[in-house]
Symmetry: C2
Subunit: 389 residues, 2 copies
């Protein structure tokens, strides 16, 4: 019988994390597996006020079809915020509202990738991006990630060897490792890319959640002509609204993104765009973000302390300056997948490293999320993992 399904979907892995989440429904399971923000980051009361206000203020407009590009005041707000925080001269025309950052990845895949095109990803890298891009059947080129960002020698030689269409990075508090690119690495990568047509995608869902160290300029945003920056409200207000954005000053890319967005879902939820804009303009957002950062800092420190207390000393781990994740490495090439299976029986879960790699299997690394467990739970969970190591 002829093949029913497309080559693209058959090339797309199911999300390993979403599979794990089903296993971790168990009430007494401690889970460091998800990437869920702590509910403290949801300003419920204020969002409720905003829903009421926008219905009162704008009536039918919040329920009608809307433009593909997104709600204009929200796009202006986002542009202005980049100007204030990073001195980037984005205007509303450079911003497209998307149905979460995940859709931004899908749209980039849609407009850029032909089957077999080379695409550089961090190794390890965000599995949602690997999943989204896989649909378009690229050839993934994994570039090793060091403590301070991509291995630039490897990047340089990869770009020379292949015509790399797109490079995907998470420069701040990377998913899955929690590492942050140093200023020097950012400068060096920008310099390397300036000699190529490769489109640099900087995905920055966690950028606002820096709880130590100083904000750094983006790698390419505002500097490279083929530069795309992704943002999201998921980690600072609510992921439930599915609202993110793509920024680029490249008019050709923006034009094609808008067509792809029309074809994909016409436009993003306009009601929630009004609500978020209202929320942003009626509340002290910095104060709200400070609250989240304070909590995540405490939780990340708790996890580091727990690891120091319970894990064998030969387990290496990262020390994040923000965001939601830590990354641990077992000694002697042990498999984290096997550890995961044993840990699950002891009622604790994490994400084994395998799905974050496009070119490796049975890796010794694993991801730990600290944002959605209190400190007692963090200590208990790390203790349980230690018992099965």
């Amino acid at each position: 019988m002829e093949q029913l399904f497309s080559d693209g979907i058959l090339n797309t892995p199911s999300s390993f994390i979403r599979e794990i989440l089903k296993v971790t429904q168990d009430e007494d399971m401690i889970s460091f597996a998800g990437g869920l923000p702590n509910p403290i980051s949801f300003p419920s009361k204020e969002l409720k006020e905003s829903t009421n206000r926008v219905i009162l203020d704008f009536e039918n407009k919040v329920f009608q079809y809307a433009t593909t590009e997104g709600y204009e005041p929200l796009r202006k707000y986002i542009a202005k915020r980049y100007e204030e925080k990073y001195h980037l001269d984005f205007s509303k025309e450079d911003i497209l509202i998307t149905t979460g950052s995940q859709q931004a990845l899908d749209l980039l895949g849609k407009i850029l990738i032909n089957k077999g095109d080379s695409l550089a990803v961090e190794c390890p890298g965000y599995l949602g991006a690997i999943q989204a891009f896989s649909m378009y059947q690229p050839k993934f080129i994994g570039i090793d990630l060091k403590e301070d960002g991509l291995d630039t020698d490897m990047l340089e030689s990869s770009l020379k060897q292949s015509n790399v269409k797109l490079m995907y990075t998470v420069p701040n508090f990377q998913n899955p490792t929690g590492i942050t690119y140093s200023f020097e690495k950012r400068t060096k990568i920008c310099e390397i890319l300036s000699h190529h047509n490769t489109i640099l995608v900087e995905d920055d869902p966690y950028g606002d959640l820096r709880f130590s160290g100083k904000d750094l300029p983006y790698i390419g945003a505002g500097k490279l002509p083929n530069s795309v920056l992704l943002g999201s409200i998921s980690k600072i207000i609510t992921p439930g609204f599915r609202l993110g954005w793509i920024c680029t000053k490249n008019k050709d890319i923006m034009k094609q993104l808008i067509i792809a967005k029309q074809a994909s879902d016409l436009h993003s939820n306009i009601f929630c765009q009004y609500v978020i804009y209202d929320y942003l303009t009626h509340n002290d957002v910095s104060q709200h973000i400070d609250k989240i950062k304070k909590l995540y800092k405490e939780q990340s420190i708790a996890m580091q302390k727990a690891i120091q207390m319970y894990f064998p000393k030969d387990i290496i781990y990262t020390t994040p300056q923000g965001g939601m994740f830590m990354w641990a490495t077992l000694p002697d090439k042990q498999s984290s997948l096997s550890l995961f299976q044993r840990a699950a029986k002891h009622k604790v879960a994490f994400v084994p490293g395998d799905p974050f790699y496009t070119n490796k299997k049975n890796v010794p690394t694993f991801r730990l999320n600290y944002t959605n467990s209190d400190t007692d739970t963090i200590f208990e969970g790390i203790k349980r993992i230690a018992q099965v190591i």
Copy 2:
């Protein structure tokens, strides 16, 4: 220089309607061009109550990440509604919530279409579907649409000639023509398709808006194994929330759709899924829909009367039994695109037929929307068109 963009996006037309809508921003322009529901269909007060109630009742859950499949009670409700109205035995496992019906089209394209696969569409057919599928570079096979549905002889011979992967239909109050498939045509098409593996997509955004005649069973839903049914809240509650769904009892198709949905936007807006479920279970929805149908019936009758009064007698037009559109045909192969340009100068707009065809240009047909103008405006607008004919 090497081509920057994918073959898929370069094969995807920009939405002609969205281009037209920009032209029709003019205050004194009468527009029959859009496909906007009348704001009467937005139960603002009740939706406001529901937003407050779900935040009170479910707190953080409405703001957190959620399952890809969609909010379970809403999926159960949709399944039950099909059972009650059409005696279809869908269960929640057969329902996937999508970011509007437009996303359902994109997901179907993603999982089914390889470049060059044959895909049958109504001729004329819904341009949003043509746009969504174009991304995946199919070979479109246009099947002529008659007053009572597809030309079944043409369908039969097309299915024999090519291996048609997918057939897309809008059986009720079709977009753009407003026609409804007769019971006989539905039965005949189902019989023809039962001899092929072709996947039948029945897109039914307007099904609840029948203002004359009797509800008819679907063509293939509940009967054909390769059958997919699409629904939406856009035309009966609000398009602003971007919520629709795909129903299929084909487990293989559903499994791939869920993977494609994960890769595309993780899940649809969970807050609005809670709100809609709350709205549906706390209000008399039938009464609400009756109000919309009453209005649309009046408006459709007004447009027919205006056409009888002002248009030359050799212009043919359809008489819809529901939905939002009428379809008119100019005599002697005149071009509706040329009429559109002249009409715009007289401050009235409609959609020329061209973008609804995958195989024809300079057609004499055009689409008229009657749901978003009051009866006086309808008479004035039709009069203006008549003046330039």
